[in-house]
Each structure stands twice: as structure tokens, then as C-alpha cells.
């Protein structure tokens, strides 16, 4: 035996840990979004890359700026800013001027996260807050849907992407309504296979339902995702819109159309499940999911906008503290 004892530490038990960390959970979500991102690039070309890149740049630079000025330390390393930027980018139209996308990233992190006190303290989903800002500020570019790349070269970038800040956008793009717009204003139903595999107009990340689902399954296997939230949202939408279809099958969309169109899958799997802005308790997550589902259908069917996922989630985000408060689990033996 050695003469000298080692300098003993006094760290308190437990000394064991399951090994998964917050940054690795964030990275898992980034991995889960990779297929959707690649599909967005495939369908929309280099323009998509510019929009996504601008969002991420805006988000990361803002996070970096505040982490220095607020002495928060290395908050970039937790990968949450990159994720917020990517999620925001995936909700934007492919033809959006990239300066707007950049501004969206700045607002998402600045107003959506930093002013609340940083990661873990924000009430609203930062990416959706950034998108809400963009939709309110730039309503026309935010609802102009560029057509798919088709046979056009990958490197072709639409002029609208490159518009200078605060200049009138030259409308040179062939645009038409998204499947939800067609449904709402013209009662025209887009074929389901197009919706599922991404052959439709829409935001960058919402075109391919199948890839979104695949990413969700990956997150569920990795235990990074509370399955109750997407399941309760989707079930609510199916039942609610199914009921409406029974009333009037022409005016109201079918349940499958409701699920695969617009941003519902993106929102239900990747936005509503943001742990920071969703309830902690199991019962609370069910209430949250049902609330989102009901609001989505209400806004889509009766509201002035064709899409309602963003507002549905933001509204339920606001209700989260209250839901948590009233759904505290029963304590063992009480």
C-alpha cells in the first residue's frame, strides 16, 4: 500500500449517470431533421440552402453575441441555437429573401429565448416566435410559395431569395397556392401521395410527411421525444376533422389530408415537443396535445388563414405553466 493517500474528493452520490446529455439530445433532433433538410434542398435547390443557412446564421450569431455580452458562458455548445435556426428555416417558404430569414433567426433567439433568460426559461417556442414575427411583418413573401425545382438546375436561385433589404421584391417567380390554400379557398384537394412524399408546394420542411415521421420515430427510439404530444395532437386532428368531414365532405378536408398537409407533422413532432415549452406532467402533455389539435382544426377551417399550426402551438405554449400547475402528479402514498 502506498504511503500517501490520494487526495480524496467528496462528491456526493449518485456517482453514476445514464450518459445522455442535453447537447446530445439537441444533436439527436438535428440528426432527425437531416432527411427532411436534404429533401428540402432536393426539391427547392440552392435557394433552400440559402434560406436555411441565413436562419441558422442569424440564430447562432445572436446566441453568440448575447453569450459574450451577458457572460452566460459557452451557451453555443449546447447546440440549441443551431436547432432553433434550422427549425425556423424549415417553416419558411423557399423563395423568402434571405435577409428576412436572417432577421427571423435573430428575432427567434433574441426575443424568443435570450430575453427570457436563455435556454430553458422561454415561454414560447423560439423558432415559432421567429416565424410569427416574420408572418406579421412580411405577410406577402411569407405566403408566396415557389414552385418545385422540377427540371431546373440545383444551382438556380430565385431572384426573390436575393432581394436586398427593404427593397421591393421583383415578382418573377411562378407561384401558386399551397395545398391548404387550395383546399381552403378553392376546395381543391391535393393527391395524398404528393403530400406524403413531398411533391407539393409549401414551406421547406413541411413537404414530405414520410421523412418527418421517420425522424420522429428515430427520436422516439432515442427517448428524446415525449410520444404523447404528437400522438395526442394527431389523434385529435383526425377525430375532429373526421367529425367535420361527416358533416360536409366537400367543405371540410379529410383526416388524412389534414395530417399530411401543411406544417402539422413538422409542428407536432418537432415544435410542440420542445420540452422547454410543453408541460412536464404526463396528464399535462395530453391536455397540451389535445389543445393544439383542436386549435389547428379550428384555425384551419374557420379562421382567416389556411394554416394554424404555428398559432395553435404558441397559444398552448402560453397555457403550459397553467397546465403544469393543475396536473401535478399524485405523490406516492398520498
Amino acid at each position: 500500500m502506498k504511503q500517501k493517500d490520494p487526495d480524496l474528493l467528496l462528491l456526493h452520490a449518485p456517482l453514476l449517470h445514464q450518459g445522455m446529455t442535453t447537447p446530445s439530445a439537441m444533436r439527436d433532433v438535428l440528426y432527425a431533421l437531416m432527411p427532411v433538410t436534404v429533401a428540402a434542398l432536393w426539391f427547392f435547390g440552392l435557394g433552400a440552402l440559402l434560406v436555411l443557412g441565413a436562419c441558422i446564421a442569424g440564430a447562432v450569431l445572436t446566441e453568440w453575441f448575447f453569450s459574450i455580452s451577458e457572460k452566460r458562458g459557452e451557451s453555443l455548445l449546447d447546440a440549441s441555437a443551431i436547432l432553433t435556426g434550422l427549425l425556423l428555416g424549415l417553416t419558411l417558404p423557399p423563395g423568402l429573401p434571405i435577409w428576412m430569414a436572417f432577421l427571423g433567426g435573430v428575432v427567434a433567439i433574441g426575443l424568443g429565448k435570450v430575453i427570457w433568460g436563455g435556454l430553458g426559461h422561454n415561454l414560447f417556442n423560439p423558432a415559432l416566435l421567429g416565424r410569427a414575427f416574420l408572418l406579421a411583418t412580411f405577410p406577402i413573401p411569407m405566403t408566396t410559395w415557389t414552385s418545385l425545382r422540377g427540371s431546373e438546375s440545383f444551382f438556380h436561385v430565385s431572384a426573390s431569395n436575393l432581394a436586398l433589404p427593404f427593397m421591393q421584391t421583383k415578382v418573377d417567380i411562378v407561384s401558386s397556392a399551397s395545398p391548404l390554400g387550395l383546399m381552403k379557398f378553392e376546395q381543391e384537394v391535393t393527391p395524398l401521395t404528393n403530400l406524403m412524399f413531398g411533391n407539393t408546394l409549401g414551406s421547406l420542411g413541411e413537404t414530405s410527411g414520410v421523412l418527418l415521421l421517420l425522424g420522429g420515430i428515430y427520436l422516439w427510439i432515442r427517448r428524446d421525444l415525449d410520444w404523447r404530444i404528437p400522438v395526442s395532437i394527431l389523434l385529435t386532428v383526425v377525430m375532429f376533422s373526421g367529425g367535420l368531414t361527416l358533416v360536409d365532405a366537400v367543405r371540410f378536408p379529410s383526416p388524412l389530408f389534414s395530417i399530411f398537409s401543411g406544417g402539422l407533422l413538422l409542428g407536432a413532432i418537432y415544435m410542440a415537443t420542445d420540452p422547454v415549452t410543453s408541460p412536464l406532467t404526463p396528464r399535462g402533455t395530453w391536455i397540451f396535445g389535445i389543445g393544439v389539435g383542436v386549435l389547428v382544426v379550428l384555425i384551419r377551417v374557420f379562421g382567416g388563414l389556411p394554416e394554424g399550426v404555428m398559432y395553435a402551438i404558441l397559444l398552448m405554449n402560453a397555457a403550459t405553466p397553467l397546465i403544469d400547475r393543475y396536473t401535478q402528479p399524485r405523490i406516492f402514498g398520498r
Partner: protein, 446 residues
């Protein structure tokens, strides 16, 4: 049907740490040789410290009473060796706090024979005398809590104990001392169980064993006497299966109400080591002067299961095992989930010391802490269905009264929340801070 019943045998939540039991689970128990000096703290159990009945310079025999119970929730102490009382005074414990202890210098030429090796005729004892005998034998819960066993056996009038539940789950990683006792001394375990069952008037004995100890389950089943009402119940491998209220939930599907005791659901729970200690006393007159200790962990060169006389310095036990590896950075007394670190290797092995675990930089590296992202993993881990993330937040804000409102006192500090937290927040440590502050403010209200 059988599988269905097995699946139901569960408590909710909990975590699944790696077992780390392979290193020691097949190693037979060895006896540690006697050393020169022993330290017996007077407060090595929960409750009032014992009172010395010997004086400095007095010669004592191995097994002789050296301190009597200081009250009802207190127990007797016996000399672990034949020797001379060298000092009675304050000694620094593993927590760094000085506390009174009796020090004994072992007689180098003594045979170390027990003072009396006659058993006790337990069958003729009344329940009251049985409880008194357990107290005077110094027997406490050997699972780690060191709660005096006779207090558990003293049930108020009108309360009936129907089931004697023996806790062989040993859910703490690394520890294998209970496992080895079940494998090596099944007859004594079953005899001790029969003594306690008859004295308490319980209808049956149930031995709950986690399924990662199939050899123990097998051997115990083989040794059951046909006329003995004993059932061996295999339990799911899950932490904290060995927590009293969790094992009751798993075996009987009953929740012990908050603030109440197992006896309120007609159950008495005892650890395997405690039952063997009871058998040792009533069958061969051996009071609580030694216990089984598992030495293990990545910093231990030669892991082992050992019979250690109480009061043996940890340093001497480790010396017997070849010492510590150079990389050792921390020594934990008990298990890695709930044990306590020690600042010095000169502290003695106590009645509640189930393990001596050495850890290296790998386990003690302080991982970077991230903000709580409300992922709810701690809520899913907490076997008491508490909200640990909120306790951590309140504790950091020093809002201890609010913690109490949210039932922080129901927390048993099992550590599942800290184990599960992806942001590396020391949740259970913060909870302990809050509970300590609450207890202190109760004792000294301003």
C-alpha cells in the same frame, strides 16, 4: 399467467443503472484478519447514541457489551475484539464531524474467541423479551440505514404484522454482500427469518430477490423447509427496488401511505444481512460485532466480499485487498447511488457500511452543467412521483418553505433524478440542502 403476474410485480418509475456486480458476485466471503486498533462510534445507528459502560484501561473480551442503549431508539455496542479500552472521546467520522467513540487496542496474543458462544432459547422468549434481546444484541438494519431493528419489531397494540418481507433486492450497483449471504448462508437466513416470523406472529415470510441473482433464488428455494411458510419472489431489476416502500409496492401492490410505516400495511421489512445477524445472535450468541462489506469499484485492485469486524479502519480493509489504484479519486461508503463519500481512510467500518467503493477520475469528473430544459426525465425517474426539477430550482433560490409545500420531505434521496438528468444538475444534492435547511429551521426557529 405466471408471466403476467411477474410483469405486475413492479413499482412505477425508477432507473436502470449498470449493475457492475460481475466483479464480486462470484467471490466467496473472506474474513479480514484482526488489526491492532478499533474505533466504535457511539452513534453508528439512527437515534440516540449508546452510553459507554466501560472505562479507559479496562480489558474487554470479543463480544462483550461496551455501551448500552441510550434510549428506546438506540442500541447496544459490543467489543469487536479482545483487548483494552484505549480511549473514550471524540473521533472524526466519515462526514468530517467529530463524535464520541470508544477506541480499543486489540490484544495481539488473544485467541479472539467469543465471550459466550451459547445461543438464546428464542422459542421461550415473549415478544417483549425478544425485542429487548435484539436491542441488547445491537442489531440494526444492515442494508445501510442502520435503523435499530428492535424498534421496527415493536408494533403498537392493535397493529398486526401479517407478512415478514425480507429484502434481498440489493439494487445498489457494485454491492454483492447480500447476494453472497443468500448464496453462502441460506440455512441461517431461513432460520433467522423463522425466528422473526414466529415472534412477530406473521403468517408468511417472503424473500424478495432481484432477478439478476438467479443463483440466490435457486439456492434459497432449495433450502426451504416443507413446513416453513416461505415464498421466494423474484423481482424486476430496477433501482431503487430495495427501498422499503418500493419493494412493498412490487411484492404486495400496496402503497404505504406517506408519513406512515410498512406496519400500517401489515408488513415488516428487513434486510438479508439483518436477518442473518439475528440468526447469528439467537443461534450462536454472536452480537452485532462484524458485518459483510463489498470492496469494489474501478479504483479497487482486488474487489472482494469480506467479513469485517466493526471498527476496523477502512484503510486496513483496503490494505487487505491490495490497496487502491493510483487513479482513485474518491472512496464511497455504501453504494454508488446513496452512499456517502469519506474524506479519510482512517474512519472505521460501521454497522451500516455495506460497501467500500473506490472511484477514479472517470466517475468523478464534474460534467458541465446545462440549464434545465424541462425534459421531465427526473419526473419519470422519481419513484415517489415528486417533481425533482422544481425542488432543484427552489433550492437554488433558497425557497425552502415552498419545497416543503411540494412535499420535499417525502423524498428518500434515492438519487434517481440526478442519475437521469441530461443537464447534469445535482438535483438530489440540492434537495438534501433544502431538507437540511428545513430541519435546521425546525430545530432553531428564529
Amino acid at each position: 399467467m405466471n408471466t403476467l403476474r411477474l410483469l405486475r410485480r413492479n413499482f412505477d418509475h425508477g432507473v436502470h443503472p449498470a449493475h457492475h456486480k460481475k466483479q464480486t458476485e462470484d467471490l466467496a466471503i473472506q474474513r479480514v484478519p484482526f488489526v491492532s486498533d478499533y474505533v466504535m462510534p457511539l452513534g453508528q445507528h439512527i437515534g440516540v447514541p449508546s452510553q459507554p459502560v466501560v472505562e479507559v484501561g479496562e480489558r474487554v473480551n470479543r463480544g462483550q457489551l461496551i455501551a448500552k442503549p441510550g434510549g428506546f431508539v438506540s442500541t447496544a455496542l459490543h467489543s469487536p475484539v479482545t483487548g483494552t479500552i484505549s480511549e473514550i472521546g471524540d473521533v472524526r467520522g466519515a462526514d468530517g464531524v467529530f463524535a464520541p467513540a470508544i477506541q480499543i487496542a486489540a490484544d495481539p496474543y488473544a485467541t479472539q474467541q467469543l465471550e459466550s458462544s451459547a445461543g438464546v432459547d428464542w422459542q421461550s422468549l415473549s415478544l417483549e423479551d425478544f425485542i429487548g434481546a435484539v436491542q441488547m444484541a445491537g442489531i440494526v438494519g444492515m442494508g445501510g440505514a442502520a435503523f435499530p431493528s428492535h424498534v421496527k419489531f415493536s408494533v403498537p397494540d392493535g397493529v398486526k404484522i401479517r407478512h415478514l418481507l425480507i429484502n434481498g433486492s440489493e439494487c445498489e450497483p457494485y454491492l454483492t454482500n447480500d447476494h453472497r449471504l443468500m448464496v453462502e448462508r441460506p440455512e441461517d437466513l431461513l432460520l433467522g427469518a423463522e425466528i422473526v416470523r414466529q415472534k412477530l406472529g406473521a403468517e408468511e415470510t417472503i424473500i424478495g430477490v432481484e432477478m439478476n441473482k438467479p443463483d440466490a433464488i435457486e439456492i434459497l428455494r432449495r433450502h426451504i423447509q416443507p413446513d416453513q411458510p416461505v415464498r421466494i419472489v423474484p423481482l424486476k431489476v430496477k433501482y431503487p427496488q430495495g427501498a422499503e416502500k418500493m419493494i412493498i409496492k412490487a411484492v404486495f401492490d400496496k402503497e404505504v401511505p406517506a408519513g406512515q410505516l410498512p406496519r400500517d400495511v401489515e408488513v415488516n421489512v428487513n434486510n438479508v444481512g439483518t436477518i442473518v445477524a439475528i440468526a447469528d445472535y439467537f443461534l450462536r450468541g454472536l452480537p452485532s460485532i462484524e458485518r459483510i462489506v463489498t470492496v469494489s469499484g474501478p479504483g479497487a485492485d482486488y474487489p472482494a466480499n469480506l467479513i469485517v469486524p466493526l471498527g476496523t479502519p477502512v484503510r486496513e480493509v483496503l490494505r487487505f485487498c491490495g490497496g487502491l489504484k493510483d487513479e482513485t479519486r474518491e472512496v464511497i461508503l455504501g453504494g454508488p447511488m446513496m452512499g456517502r463519500p469519506t474524506a479519510s481512510l482512517d474512519v472505521p467500518v460501521l454497522k451500516g457500511t455495506s460497501g467500500i467503493l473506490a472511484f477514479t477520475e472517470v466517475e468523478t469528473a464534474r460534467p458541465k452543467e446545462y440549464p434545465c430544459i424541462r425534459c421531465a426525465r427526473c419526473l419519470e425517474a422519481c419513484p415517489y412521483f415528486l417533481n425533482p426539477s422544481r425542488f432543484a430550482r427552489l433550492s437554488r433560490a433558497r425557497m425552502y418553505d415552498e419545497m416543503e409545500q411540494y412535499s420535499v420531505m417525502d423524498c428518500v434521496e434515492c438519487g434517481c433524478c440526478t442519475f437521469a438528468c441530461p443537464s447534469n444538475i445535482p438535483i438530489v444534492q440540492l434537495i438534501r440542502t433544502g431538507k437540511d435547511a428545513l430541519r435546521a429551521s425546525k430545530e432553531n426557529p428564529e
